[in-house]
């Protein structure tokens, strides 16, 4: 029932993720942050198997940091996405990670970009995308309302529309969501959308 979706706007990229940590029928917590700040200008929204999600995303984050320490320059978003895909691909036929990822970043000469990386190491560069049961609703909403060059207000409005659909139409809908944005000034948390206070 996890849900992660994202889109690219004018000079920024946005990732939204639900924040429930679920184990069978029990909700452990409803304020779990599933959108990791990979580095100063990258966001990694991940959904999937509990242990795998944290282990894998932390591994990617540390390797991205290591590159920056070693070489004095950060990885581009594309390079980080391809590195992530490569790690998933290598593990796939031995010890697969069950994690779906949306990687958003801002590069100085390229602008904002969003990458879809699923658990079997599919990689796509996209303008909008979503994972989970919520994707059935998000993708349709985005197909209807998304256009290139959206402002932050328009994009957050679209995100809210998607969240509304998930809440009303998904049988075990997650109550809370986090919205994070990355633009030329960096990656940061934009807002939470809570119906259950934790």
């Amino acid at each position: 029932m996890e849900c992660v979706f994202g889109l690219v706007g004018k000079g920024f990229a946005l990732i939204v993720a639900d924040s429930s940590a679920v184990h069978s029928i029990l909700v452990h917590k409803s304020n779990e942050d599933k959108v990791m700040v990979l580095d100063s200008h990258k966001l990694l929204g991940a959904s999937g198997e509990g242990g795998d999600r944290v282990q894998f995303t932390e591994y990617i984050q540390k390797n991205v940091h290591l590159y920056q320490f070693r070489n004095g320059i950060p990885l581009t978003t594309a390079a980080a996405a391809n590195f992530t895909r490569g790690e998933l691909a290598t593990a796939l036929r031995k010890n697969p990670y069950f994690v779906n990822i949306l990687l958003a970043g801002y590069d100085k000469d390229i602008g904002p970009s969003l990458y879809y990386i699923d658990y079997i190491a599919t990689l796509h560069k996209i303008d909008k995308g979503a994972f989970g049961y919520g994707s059935y609703f998000c993708l349709s909403m985005m197909d209807r309302h998304y256009h290139t060059g959206m402002t932050v207000e328009e994009a957050v409005d679209l995100a809210d529309k998607c969240i509304k659909e998930i809440r009303s139409r998904l049988v075990v809908a997650p109550p809370n969501f986090v919205i994070k944005i990355v633009d030329k000034d960096g990656a940061k948390e934009y807002a939470w959308r809570e119906t259950v206070n934790m």
Partner: protein, 235 residues
């Protein structure tokens, strides 16, 4: 690397704190054929003498200047076979980088990895240091770059540099002639003049090699005919 019986390093410190093997390796470089490189505002040129041991050698089969990637080229002074091993390793490292990140390796990083290999051979069992210094010319997002890598594994970025037999004369000549706003064509002319300074015999497109890389980021070795054209312009 090396036999199990030779798991100790053959490169050891002298009482004065020097690694004598590396000094000797630098001597091997210093008695090799002259090579040089010049970084221009819009590209890099590297060049070397191509003196073959006999007139019977088919000079078209010999190419000293090599590509490491499409946008990075290299020339050496010293032992040719040693340079081949290094270039082979570096080419693989560049491709491994591409496999990991799906991006071309930055020049600085390839130089650093090549230098790391050379350093390894000064601190491993049963091996000797490489008897070459490399001049690496590349063009990437940081613009044109020229690096020299020594047998010790140290590397330096140069605006212009020379190595081999005629190194001191060549460097003095380059110091006088180098300007920061040189264009690639001027740099090629200067490179030819520098080689000419210490050249024994008649210089021609058949006994020198020149490699250039410009803003198009494609490293290429000039044909003997193109070199002859530049030579004619220089005269």
């Amino acid at each position: 690397m090396g036999d199990s019986q030779y798991s100790f390093s053959l490169t050891t410190f002298s009482p004065s704190g020097k690694l004598v093997q590396i000094e000797h390796a630098l001597m091997a470089v210093g008695s090799g054929q002259t090579s040089l490189g010049i970084k221009a505002a819009n590209g890099v040129v590297i060049a070397t003498e191509k003196k073959l041991p006999s007139i019977l050698v088919d000079e078209t089969s010999v190419q000293k200047i090599q590509l490491m990637t499409t946008n990075i080229g290299v020339v050496y002074s010293g032992m040719g076979p040693d340079s081949r091993v290094l270039i082979r390793k570096s080419r693989k490292q560049a491709q491994q980088y591409y496999r990991l990140y799906k991006e071309a390796i930055p020049v600085t990083q390839l130089v650093r990895e090549t230098a790391a290999v050379m350093q390894e051979f000064t601190q491993s069992g049963g091996v000797r240091p490489f008897g070459v210094s490399l001049l690496v010319a590349g063009y990437d997002d940081n613009g044109p770059q020229l690096y020299q890598v020594d047998p010790s594994g140290s590397y330096f970025s140069w605006k212009a540099s020379a190595m081999g037999k005629n190194v001191s004369n060549a460097k003095t000549f380059l110091e006088k002639r180098y300007t920061d706003d040189m264009e690639l064509d001027d740099a090629v002319h200067t490179a030819i003049l520098t080689l000419k300074e210490g050249f024994e015999g008649q210089i021609s497109g058949k006994n020198i090699e020149i490699g250039i890389i410009g803003a198009d980021r494609k490293f290429r070795v000039l044909t003997p005919a193109e070199i002859d054209d530049y030579l004619a312009e220089v005269e």
